[in-house]
Amino acid sequence: MTIKDRMSGNQAIATAIRQINPDVIAAFPITPSTEIPQFVSSMKAEGLVDTEFIAVESEHSAMSACIGASAAGVRAMTATSSAGMALMYELLYVAASDRLPIVLAAVNRALTGPININADHSDSMGARDSGWIQIYSENAQEAYDNMLMAHRIAEDPAVSLPVMICQDGFITSHAIENILIEEDAPVRAFIGEYVPVHHLLQPDKSVGVGPYSISAFYMEMKRAQFEAMRNARAVIRKVSDDFGAKFGRQYGMFEEYRMEDAELAVLLMSSSAGTGKDAVDALREQGVKAGLVKLRVFRPFPAEDLAFALKDLKALAIMDKSDGFSGNGGPLGAEVRAAIYGVHDGIKTINYVYGLGGRDIRVDDFFTIFGVLEELLDGRTTDRVRHIGVREK
């Protein structure tokens, strides 16, 4: 039976980890993800998990230990944020290119500087080209549900890639909210046992993990990663459908909110999507044909499906919680525009950078953005990139 509870996003992730009972967790504390390994080590002390908990001396070592464990054929997990993820960057690439299904709980926090502990997506966006699957969560419920799906996605032989489950630091990681928790037995039945196809501890089936690759082989390995990421689309849909059938909460690559007849819409990820939905409801009451798309899966990027979902829009604001400093808007703006370019060129778009370093975004801010979409339509503005929530004076 589903249990009605209330907890923070970090507690939700820790609850999922208890149910998953991974073989190895290697982690180093960094705000706001620190609570996750803290909760896990308490659970270990209380005998609630039999996970091997490795308290390492840095995030570089945390991911290295996960790589070693995963290469040896067991389930390995970690949690991190911000500069901690930055210290893992090299190893993130190693994990992905070695095709190791490691799962990382990312609690998004601004990647310095000035030093800041609050939420934005600059940490995981910096890792967007590392070859990891990236799934973003609106609230504690989604963080929990996404974590329960992560291992099945990562370990599918057609994928065999690491997965990071992202949520917004403090905004959801430290906020108590209502949540539905599933019982241990059905969760464990859903996740299943991990049976690796290849691993290092099979004397009769020797494999190499992480050797030097000369030019004659390197590009084939990269092409294989591309194929795996393409395959991940169908696997994520399948796992999400199975999850929905079993537990009743439906997930896709993205969520379409009041998009049936929408003419104006915003597209964004994670916690602010909830705020945006309240704004959409209020605008709908005023007769504005407003909608919202919440991207759940950023890697692999569901370009074709997204373009189809957006096709009837007149104007779209793509909202980035990281700048990217291309001078041309954030990473989500670039990807979404690339997805609709040449397919639905009639849609006017503007890219908004918002919420950096925990800057609050309110329902009123969404009203402003929808107002600018009207301006975009009638030609009062042709801006491609704007920031919202910035003090201009």
Binding site: I117, F170, H174, A175, I176, S271, G358, V363
Partner: protein, 191 residues
């Protein structure tokens, strides 16, 4: 939806109080949010925490700018923080203070809503033995929100304290006494 804002100082437990309120309201079947606004994590620095309590699921993830209820955990903040900023004209303000009502009222010449005072420090020192204003403040706040009856709240808190203080059961009775006393001790000091 009821929205609350807590003003305290780092280390005083305003955040903990907000999380406790979320717990208490959850027990009545409400949808809840309880969250702190994190700035520099320093003892004594002004901090803000928030609650939303609703009959329907809560999706908004912004801070609260137009609260229904404001709670001032530390009255020294009245000098530096505009605690009634955005507080609804018919909203409620609860100040933890041992000062005379006239002195508190003088700090809010322009606020038209109801002003309540509770001497949570005094109650906690007498009942718990330490200046831990959270427990009595929580009781006064729950009463102000009207989300549950006294008896339900007392029963819920007894259960919560029994779990929370399982390692030091000797403090349970004092905390329960603080809850009961605070329920009737917060008084409205204006018309």
């Amino acid at each position: 939806m009821l929205e609350l804002r807590w003003h305290g100082r780092g280390g005083q437990g305003a955040k903990t109080a907000a999380l406790l309120l979320a717990d208490a309201a959850f027990e009545t079947g409400l949808y809840v949010q309880g969250f702190p606004e994190y700035g520099p994590e320093r003892m004594g620095a002004p901090i803000t925490a928030y609650n939303r309590l609703s009959q329907t699921p809560i999706r908004v993830h912004s801070n609260i700018y137009e609260p229904d209820i404001v709670i001032v955990v530390d009255e020294t903040l009245l000098k530096t923080v505009d605690v009634t900023a955005g507080l609804k004209p018919n909203g409620k303000l609860l100040v933890n203070s041992g000062r005379e009502p006239s002195e508190i009222l003088a700090a809010f010449p322009d606020f038209g809503g109801a002003i309540y005072v509770i001497n949570a420090a005094d109650i906690s020192i007498r009942t718990i033995g330490k200046n831990l204003p959270n427990t009595p403040l929580l009781s006064a706040v729950v009463k102000l929100t009207g989300v549950m009856e006294a008896d339900t709240f007392f029963t819920n808190m007894e259960k919560a304290f029994t779990e929370k203080f399982s390692a030091k059961p000797e403090v349970i009775a004092g905390n329960l006494l603080a809850i009961r006393e605070a329920w009737t001790s917060s008084i409205q000091i204006n018309e």
